[in-house]
């Protein structure tokens, strides 16, 4: 009788333990989601970097078509709201809105959410668009931003963002 009772008690305790664990994990998950939706977003750098690699001019002279900047760049206020252009080539380049000397960088901050158009001879249509989105609001927008950031970190290497 005694061993049987002990067995029963252990089974009940095991079931309760699993239930408590599930509840604790659920609460933690909810807390995590709440944090992700509400906590202010902090970033280590505001820069969205684009580089002209060394040898670009030589490759272009050899007939290679090289696109450095996309036609449209998406930035987010308060997060990645500084367009950083760096010329690592040996000759000056028109890069986005300006002429950048070899070894020089150009750092352009944005303070208002809007769509900006720059003349840019590096593009076939002569135009570069920079779309600056507002800072993600607490709630769904922040949660979505964090999820996108996490997905990018998991699925893409850092190089894939910087052309």
């Amino acid at each position: 009788m005694r061993p049987h009772l002990l067995k029963l008690l252990m089974r009940v305790a095991g079931r309760e333990w699993r239930r408590l664990t599930a509840i604790a994990l659920s609460l933690l998950a909810l807390g995590g989601i709440g944090w992700a939706a509400l906590a202010p977003i902090q970033v280590s750098s505001h820069d969205e970097l684009f580089e002209i690699p060394h040898g670009t001019w030589a490759r272009r002279m050899a007939g290679e078509k090289i696109e450095i900047l996309p036609h449209t760049i998406h930035l987010t206020l308060g997060l990645n709201d500084v367009l950083l252009l760096r010329n690592k080539d040996e000759v000056p380049h028109i890069f986005g809105p300006t002429l950048i000397m070899p070894g020089q960088s150009f750092s352009l901050p944005f303070a208002q959410a809007s769509t900006y158009s720059f003349q840019c001879t590096a593009h076939a249509n002569g135009q570069l668009n920079v779309i600056v989105e507002p800072t993600p609001a607490p709630g769904w927008e922040r949660l979505h931003w964090r999820w996108r950031k996490l997905s990018n970190a998991v699925w893409h290497s850092p190089e894939s963002h910087h052309h």
Binding site: R18, V43, S45, Q104, S107, P109
Partner: protein, 204 residues
Amino acid sequence: MRLNPNRLRNHAAALLLSLLFASVSITTCANADVRPELKAGVFNPPYMAPEFSLDGTKNSDVTLARYRGKVVLLTFGFTNCAAVCPTTLATLAQARSGLGKAAASVQVIYVTVDPERDSVARMREFLAAFDPSFIGATGTPAALAAVRKKYGVTAIKQGSGRDYAMAHTSSIFLIDRAGKLRALMPFGHDPADFVHDIKFLLAH
């Protein structure tokens, strides 16, 4: 093998949690919030602004060397410009007004991209409507094209006949007291941003 729904649920919750904690570490690992000190785009390192010598509206040649010790705001345009140039020049005039005594340490130079129509006299009259201290600069088409090339400025004729327009770079170059090209302010900034950056350049 039978799948235990409870175990599956626990594993899913644990995975979600670990992802969320990973996102914490990604977004809060280092909060070295470094933003540029200027409202304009900044060149790093700054190099000497390309020199030029053009015909000026103040009865003398316009060179950058002449204005060493002042902050020079260099912009390109044409007097028949309908919107961009008047807006830019009005903004720069307001910025100078907002600077008080420091305005004496600022020189606006407006280089034409339309020498065909912009004579020295025409530019003088046009600029005086905004701020009598502004200096216009013109020259031969070749001389002006050479200056534009040095600064990466574009100017493309649009239309024909007497009422043609010029599509041109609308940014303003900020040159410090030592003659270095420090920054470039895109079109659309308000006078307060110029006041902020000019004060910074006068102090640094």
